[in-house]
Symmetry: D5
Subunit: 156 residues, 10 copies
């Protein structure tokens, strides 16, 4: 059973996430800083570090170099993940508010997409997002910008 | 039981929504056009017409005038609604993609808010959103912009 | 309240579906025959008649003519529907077997798409499907063919 | 308690799956290649390697030989598995799209089976499936082909 | 809207079930008696009357004659039904006990089928069942007999 | 904490099940053979080995002797188990088909019990079941026979 | 469609429950008083009036006479009901407390039944219950007494 | 990290339950016997041993002495527990029957409490219960007696 | 069927709620004003008007007089209601925030009750609550005050 | 893999909670006492110790000093937590009663907030709460006081 022993000693995707968090803490780094180092956006960088996206090979290499991760981590960071997220509405207030927005405004977004484009959807695959801080005298604001390709339904 | 009879004949919030949809169809109007007429955003206008937000009094009056709705509709349009949306993940592909985005990127948004602001949330109450069409040679894109006030947790 | 009365008398999408079923029964038609008449596939034709897809305008007109539906049905048949289907696994044995196939082979399909294409998905929007009868001496077989555009994840 | 110790040291079906994945990675193999080596289809080969189907004895032996697995793996690979898959709709976008297709088109498939065959179902037991890449100038497409025996309901 | 009016006046499958129950009560009939009259089993007869199975055409005609139902009922009784039953465990004690039996003995039945036949299932489509009263000095017993065709999994 | 150490080393009911499976595999035994050896039915024997029923003391002793299990296993095999089974409908096709049968025919079984016996149920406690192979030229069939005492509701 | 009209005019079980409640209110009766009049217990009387149990024929007749119900109500009151109750834990505080008791003490009741009787259950079919008021200086108490036949599991 | 090591070695409430079960088995004790030794009821004794109630300090000491448990167990046995029980209806037939009783008779118990006491509930906090064996020629019966303080709703 | 007709014409609890809302709107009243008129708190008054609590008889009479409701409404307003509220977490943001508070602070409240009182609970039956507006230069605040009797668990 | 080893040896937030509980027990401290020592409220102190809130840095330092925790605990105690709490209604009676209150009075609180403030909510972020013991001759009472900033919905 030698193979099996080797296998359980192998690095998993969860290990890589943990190593990244440790390196970030030890180096007092920020997601924004890490993202800049490898030349990607903070949103994509964080989600791929968490295992919700796959890094392009060169970016995986760059991250391994930047954070001094084990060499085999690069391979794992560019494998297609299985994206698992709870379909139960999450309880953390910061994440819940996003569901509230989607729940309240979902039909509105659908109606306006149909008005501006036709019968179709905003792609969540050919998609990108950014988050920034908007100064405001009554209290600064979180700005979220999303952009997804319009896909029209096929009729055949 | 005279009062009860009158009561069931009274206009409900659902009736007002139906009357708006009928007027919009008959007049070949768009949400963008209606919104412009009353001086509000298309996102807010649509969601308040659907009964998910309350119009300010003057905007309710303006809408009643613009669409030739019964006078008593103005009152109903500015009453605080009970916002009810299915907590089950919706099946319509256009709305589902929004849940997919929030499911995949929720923890990322939380991490970046904490990095840029501290321990807190983006408000879904002091909040606004817009949707626009972004021309793109590889296929036009849907652009969604959200802005919510940052609220830091109280510690006492 | 004249408008409201007119409104409730108006044709709904459900009415159009019912009228189609009545006309199909009365005329002893088949889905395959109806589809051929309007020049579309049987799968798309049935699903759009059931309100799960929107007909292109000219096809909606052709259907209205073929089945002698009221003129205003054409408009309804080409409006974007909200696709609602039960997320609970359905109990009808014919439909359940499809879920069983997707449940058992879902991860296999994902692995083979990634092997042949890269990190991405088969689109359910730019998609088509056909169903045919395959003669077989041990008992005829149902043949289902699906084709969806490959969409690779964006990395930004 | 000697027996118990031996028992926990025994190879489980999950171990065999892990050993296959390790061998595949080490050998830079593909599912298509493995399938060809043992003379079965890629879909069946992957699903049986994952523990969702039982290999015929000779194919299990061939796989053990091809990937240099421990001898006792052959037995496990041909034992009837208990097929367990989440009845909650899965969140990975690649797999979710399959549920969307089945949810939207399930009643259509049922209606067309009944039109072409009578009252019955497409078997998910006497069943096979293949996946291929379809070249297309607007972007290559995933082609899924399924074939299941028609089974008519018994009336007694 | 003449068509729509006619449509809503048409007989539905639920109407036919109600008419059967009324005729059975008025005629002080039993399911066993009705089944004998039309030459089918009581189990199939009851379930098809309830809309969970489709009668063969001649049996539908026989039932219409026996119970003096409207002529158009025969058509409805032989249409393929959509079998809908609650996936929540039912609360009626008589039905719940059946779930308890399946829950407790399901894995046992699977193990014994595999021992006697191989990797496969008992069909619920090519299937029949009977129920009888078994005299017993300690209290009579309900006897349930089921018979379904064995279907072996395809490997390809 | 000496007692606790001893305790965790003690044999559990799950251990006994595992030891039985190991002995069965090693001895190339069948459930039918084991059942015959101890003079019980295969259905009860399998379910009690799996921990879903309690063996009578003498049968537990006989099983321990037949399979050469540790002496203390006999005690565990005759303790009343807590019968735990998933109330979610199971996904394995062989077990699922049983739920489909109970879902479709549950109300029919209830109606026929009431017709033949009165207001009451078939007991799942004073109950027995057998499974056999029925030869058939069109393909052999699985035969399931159940017998449960009729229990009439008390009225007081 | 004359039969159908008659059918919908017929008395249903729900109608009978409503008639009983109306008669009870009009006559300022109590459940205890009604139960005494027909010679049954208050618990059984209330539950059978609510449609959760079937009255013996003579008791149904007595109830019809006592409350001056339509003659055909007697038949309905003695038909076997389908007992439907929400499997979701109920929210009314008075009923919820009963679930809390069963949730907390269920395993205790099982352990004590096994200690006093052996492997088996307390029947919920051959069962009865009473409720009384127990005077107590610190505040009166509700006393609930249940009695169900012990049923030992069959081993075969 | 010395404290953490000590902490994980500390006795938990689950350990105490396990030690009690071991001592009970080793000493061939019964719950009734243990309860008598410490001067409490069998129902409360079992539930507090299982961690669903807190023993008064002196009773915890008595139990520790009677079963020769480690001294620190007394503290744990009198700490307020968090009562966790599955809100899903349990599958063990002995426990399920209790839910069936509460489901069927819950509204009846509520109606009779209101008739005898007014608007309020039977407390599940100021509550007690006993279980006994009732001899009966047709088969012995389980007798369950519950007593809870009536609490009337406050109106303010 | 004269009784049934009368019955359906009778006032229901839902009718009374609707009549109260109509009277409140017509009279431009507030809950605080109504509560003051009948000498009860606004919280109790609103919840009893909504059918979640029963008014004491004299208060029901006072409300009927104040709002000019039909005389028979008084009886309905003092009948014990069945308190039904969705166990699914509600989606309206105003109500959801209350669940968030209870979800986050529930274990804290339990720990502090046990520290200050012992093993027991805060009663939700002998309970009262008030809501007021607290002026604050940084924005006014909602103040919620709850008071419930401490109930210690019985040990017997 | 040296980093990974170090990582798994690092202190987690759960470890800190466990160390706090151990120190509290060893020192016979109360939450009220701990809260006073660090100059915060008992409610916030307990919830932040449990990992449901983040301590301000100086308070985290004070807690580390007061309870003699490892130095690195201070960092963990002031990191933003992910607040996870079960959306299933909890079963512990003390916590359940809080849900009952929110379930019954949620719509009332919403109505009164709207009456006193307008369309908006009570913030659960800019929020505080206290719990105290209220002496009362009929039995002492639990007093819960909550205060949250009113937030009005944005209209744009």
């Amino acid at each position: 059973m030698k193979d099996q022993t080797q296998m359980t000693a192998a690095l998993t995707r969860e290990d890589v996430t943990a190593l990244i968090l440790t390196a970030k803490k030890a180096g007092r780094l920020t997601w924004e800083g890490i993202a800049e180092t490898i030349g990607m956006s903070p949103v994509f960088t964080h989600s791929a570090c968490m295992g919700m996206n796959a890094f392009p090979s060169d970016k995986a290499q760059a991250l391994v170099a930047a954070l001094d991760l084990p060499a085999e981590a690069a391979d794992l960071l560019s494998e297609p993940p299985t994206k698992i997220w709870s379909q139960a509405v999450p309880t953390d207030p910061c994440i819940y508010r996003l569901y509230e927005i989607v729940g309240v405004y979902g039909p509105t977004i659908k109606a306006l997409i149909e008005e501006k484009f036709g019968t179709g959807i905003m792609s969540a695959i050919d998609f990108e997002m950014s988050l920034s801080r908007e100064a405001n005298p009554k209290g600064d604001r979180v700005k979220l910008e999303m952009s997804g390709k319009y896909l029209g339904y096929n009729a055949w």
